[in-house]
């Protein structure tokens, strides 16, 4: 329960920090860190416009998308604090329930009959499929390293002590950050700020959503970021006391948010057809992690 509250709290200011970091990097002062949440509250109060082309799918998709992310957060532990539900293999459920949400967003985009949204849906389907193997290989490596197959089991016993392990931790963090960027449609893969339809993925899928639905989708992105932030934070938390865990958790969330802001400020977006190569790199790095784990636990000897 505590982990759930922690992540929900982090989601409140995460995007704010990203935007603030971006503003400072470009020499502006920027809005307050709660501005995105205020925008969402504002959005909740607005009415909606639905396209004539759409069906019930378009209406239920944002709800299911949001529910899938909440479900993912329920499973995610924070250090010693277990998730709401924890069982062996829960990360499989985590990945698949998020995929269920994505499935609905993709078909909702196709439901509008718009050529732009179809384009975004096509890219989303492909890129998230390509990013999935990296996540599973990393979880497999961590499972192998710790001998546990649940999120809380893995993260409560994970310790990056020796030199190889530190390298492992760095690589894992890199891959997880990149997966988070892909899953949230951020900079090297997608640009959430442009409004040129041809270059977007996630933004272009939600062109027709408005009002309550749009607010759900926008807050879904915040939640997803905080959730991946928690996943990354978990790599570093184990072994500290209860209250320090919370401190470290928020510190890492802030660092992660600043990193996202920095990446968005200083990197250019890839050409769309180079994205698959980039995502393949993630899978190969995760395989590297796997072999490093084999080395660490002495399977090669």
């Amino acid at each position: 329960m505590i982990s759930l509250i922690l992540i929900l709290t982090a989601a409140m200011f995460f995007s704010g920090i990203v935007i603030r970091a971006r503003s400072i990097a470009s020499g502006r002062k920027g809005p307050g860190i709660f501005q995105p949440v205020k925008d969402i509250l504002r959005q909740l109060k607005k009415g909606s416009v639905f396209s004539d082309t759409t069906s019930i799918i378009f209406q239920i998709a944002p709800v299911i998308y949001f529910a899938s992310i909440l479900m993912g957060i329920c499973i995610m532990p924070v250090g010693e604090y277990r998730g709401l539900i924890s069982f062996d293999g829960d990360f499989v459920f985590f990945a698949y329930v998020l995929a269920a949400g994505k499935f609905f967003m993709i078909i909702a985009a196709l439901d509008t009959g718009s050529s732009f949204e179809g384009m975004g849906a096509s890219r989303e389907a492909l890129f998230s499929m390509l990013a999935e193997p990296a996540f599973f290989i990393i979880m497999g490596s961590l499972a192998l390293l710790t001998g546990n197959t649940s999120f809380s089991g893995i993260f409560s016993t994970l310790k990056f002590g020796s030199h190889i392990n530190i390298a492992l931790g760095a690589l894992t963090t890199f891959v997880l950050v990149m997966i988070a960027m892909i899953e949230n449609s951020r900079m090297p893969v997608d640009d959430s700020r442009t409004h040129l339809e041809l270059t977007m993925i996630h933004e272009v899928m939600v062109l027709d959503n408005s009002g309550f639905d749009l607010a759900l989708i926008m807050h879904g992105v915040n939640l997803k970021f905080a959730m991946y932030g928690a996943l990354i934070a978990n790599l570093f938390i184990p072994g500290f006391g209860e209250y320090i865990t919370i401190l470290i958790f928020f510190a890492i969330q802030v660092i992660f948010a600043v990193t996202v802001g920095a990446i968005e400020s200083f990197m250019a977006r890839f050409r769309m057809n180079h994205n698959p190569q980039f995502i393949f790199i993630l899978s190969s790095v995760s395989l590297l992690i796997f072999f490093a784990v084999l080395l660490v636990i002495g399977k090669f000897s």
Binding site: C74, I75, Y96, E132, G147
Partner: protein
């Protein structure tokens, strides 16, 4: 009264009755017969799943000898799966065939009904017969009746092609299985399954492995493992939809039954067999879904997905074998139970998908998804059930497909800790495989559902599509019910599965309440997660509805970037939806693209066509066929259409037959003469 006699009597009576009635009553008799047969055979099947086997010894004849019948938990499980799909298939098919009633020849209709009943009873027989010889007879009846079922629309060219392709390949399959049984019979002088067991107990490992793979190849032609799958994507689209659903749902599963039965009978090196099965299965899964994505024909797309799902089932079997080989009972239990559960799950969602596709076919008159669109508004019931089945087949929670894939994932991740280096590498390879299969399945079904049911129609159809009657939606709903139920109550289904899976442990059962791996507890947690997902989504939806009531909601056109004249043609098509994927996967596939680009100052009509083709079929089947064709072409001058020549050939043949022995005698005596010299 013995239940086996009741079963035979029911089958025989219906077969005799069907030809004598009018076309409408034929269907009703078939329904009654199918209900009767399923009810009768379900009784021993349910008993076996509760732990008591049913055995019976038929007197048989001089040719066959005594025929032992035995329904153990594995048979019982498959019989129940077969029964359920046939029952819903019969009720759905009864409605589906109404569209043909006015133009179909009553003889064809009778033949269809008879084959339907024969297919059902022969499948049940295959599951219970314990004698190789009679097993082959039942197998042949099943193969032939399935052939007749496929050939229902025999006047269409592609149906004939597909049917002949199917019947040839299913006989290659019989050939391998027969070789296996004869191999044993030559050594043991008996066709019974016990002989197979005794043979394997007394012969060295390599022989057993050879025998097993002889059976495995035979059964995997039926099941559709790559590279033996090539008949499947032809036969399924050609058959009427209820038959496609049944073929894909259960007839190919009989191959899986065969493989599992042989695993029980032959004591082989499980580790090696497991590795081979696992690798073949991952390949099948990947190849199936990779080709499924690029298909334009909805039923063909579903057929390729059957190959993918057979791959997932095979992965479970392979992991189970590896578990047996390494003595890792947890791995073995998870592997086999995942495989068996996926057999059940696939029979459910695949038949439902084919039934939905059948509705679309009869409503819209085409299976080309590029021409469809927006059907959800016309056919909401069909669309809803297609969506549920699509989510389930992608393995997404909270539906049944997730449960079986979760079991297989658990096997793989659980196996990581205890594995040696080679097994670890194979495990990572299969984890990667299953993840990619899942992701590709999502691309495939978002494409299929999105283009068929969503958006606006992409082409003018011959007639306005309308929703099918309640007579079809009820059997479809009956299939959908367990899809949802298994997702919510996985802990119950896992206890049912423990009975057949425990056969593999030879007596001592697996304790799934054990402390090191509390499977039952895990399944309960999964169930809680599924329920939680329903609750969350449901309550969010209610909140949304309450809020939306107080907001101004208006309707407008889809945002078109300022371009108002949006129509069906501006939508993303299925081909454009998968274009990025196609570009990535192009080196592995073979897609023929015919393009007419813009040329000259006054360009003519521009067009592009893409025809997906099966690379493995090209290499393994078509190349050989071309070779045979070229060789036989040399002799084509013999077939010149002149009756005189044909009579001459006959004459020459008779003369050869008569003079052959005489010449042989002369030669022998000549040789004797030289010898004496």
């Amino acid at each position: 009264m013995n239940i086996f006699y009741l079963f035979i009597a029911g089958t025989a009576a219906s077969l005799v009755l069907i030809p004598f009635f009018s076309i409408r009553i034929k269907g009703i008799i078939t329904l009654a017969a199918v209900t009767f047969i399923t009810a009768v055979s379900a009784y021993p099947a349910v008993l076996s799943l509760m732990g008591s086997n049913t055995e019976f010894l038929f007197a048989g004849s001089i040719v066959t000898g005594e025929i032992p019948l035995r329904i153990d938990a594995l048979s019982g499980f498959f019989i129940l799966v077969i029964n359920f799909t046939f029952l819903t298939g019969a009720f759905y098919g009864f409605q589906y065939l109404k569209a043909y009633l006015s133009r179909v020849d009553p003889v064809i209709y009778s033949l269809h009904c008879i084959s339907f009943i024969l297919a059902l009873s022969s499948l049940i027989a295959i599951c219970s017969i314990q004698n190789g010889f009679v097993f082959l007879i039942a197998w042949e009846i099943m193969a032939l009746s399935a052939f007749i079922l496929v050939m229902f629309e025999h006047y269409r060219k592609e149906t004939i092609r597909a049917g002949i392709n199917y019947i040839v390949q299913s006989h290659i399959c019989v050939l391998f299985i027969m070789t296996g049984f004869i191999w044993v019979a030559v050594k043991m002088n008996s066709f019974s399954f016990d002989a197979v067991r005794n043979f394997s107990a007394s012969s060295p490992g390599i022989i057993n492995l050879g025998l097993f793979f002889c059976f495995f190849i035979g059964f995997s032609i039926k099941a559709g493992f790559v590279p033996f799958h090539t008949w499947l994507p032809h036969a399924h689209p050609a058959a009427p939809s209820h038959i496609s659903g049944i073929m894909s749902g259960v007839i190919i599963k009989i191959g899986i039954y065969g493989i599992m039965r042989m695993l029980l009978l032959i004591q082989l090196d499980y580790l090696t067999a497991g590795y081979i099965i696992l690798i073949i299965s991952v390949m099948s899964g990947l190849y199936g879904v990779m080709l499924a994505i690029i298909q334009h024909n909805l039923k063909r797309l579903l057929a390729y997905h059957s190959i993918e799902n057979i791959g997932i089932i095979g992965m479970g079997i392979g992991l189970g074998c590896i578990g047996l080989g390494t003595g890792n009972r947890m791995l073995a239990f998870l592997g086999f139970s995942g495989a068996l559960l996926h057999v059940l799950n696939h029979s459910l969602f695949k038949s439902l998908l084919f039934y939905a596709a059948g509705n679309v076919y009869q409503a819209a008159g085409t299976m080309n998804i590029e021409k469809l669109g927006g059907l959800i508004k016309r056919m909401p019931g069909t669309a809803f059930m297609f969506l549920i089945a699509a989510l389930a087949i992608c393995g997404l929670p909270p539906f049944n497909g997730f449960i079986s894939e979760f079991l297989i994932y658990s096997a793989m991740f659980g196996g990581l800790s205890s594995a040696g280096l080679p097994f670890l590498l194979i495990l990572v390879f299969s984890i990667l495989g299953l993840v990619i299969i899942g992701g590709l399945a999502i691309i495939c079904f978002t494409k299929a559902f999105g283009t068929v049911f969503l958006g606006i129609p992409r082409a003018a159809l011959e007639r306005e599509p309308v929703e099918m009657g309640i007579g079809r939606l009820i059997p479809m709903g009956a299939v959908m019910l367990p899809i949802v139920a298994i997702g919510i109550f996985p802990d119950i289904i896992i206890q049912v599965l423990s009975e057949p899976v425990n056969l593999f442990f030879g007596g001592s059962g697996f304790n799934f309440r054990s402390h090191e791996f509390p499977l039952l507890g895990i399944m309960k947690s999964v169930a809680r997660c599924s329920l939680g997902f329903y609750l969350l989504a449901g309550s969010l939806f209610l909140i949304r509805r309450m809020i939306m009531k107080r907001r101004i909601v208006s309707a407008g056109p889809t945002w078109g970037c300022g371009y108002a004249a949006t129509g069906g043609k501006l939508q993303y098509t299925a081909s454009s939806f998968i274009r990025n994927y196609r570009k990535l996967a192009e080196p592995l596939l073979s897609i023929e693209i015919r393009k007419k680009g813009v040329t000259g100052i006054f360009p003519k009509i521009v067009s592009q066509e893409s025809h997906p083709y099966d690379k493995i079929e090209g290499i393994f089947i078509d190349r050989f066929l071309n070779l045979i064709g070229r060789v036989t072409d040399i002799f084509s001058f013999l077939q010149n259409g002149n009756l005189q020549y044909y009579i001459l050939y006959g004459l020459v043949f008779i003369m050869l037959v008569m003079t052959g022995p005489v010449l042989y005698d002369i030669m022998i005596s000549f040789l004797g003469f030289i010898d004496r010299l």
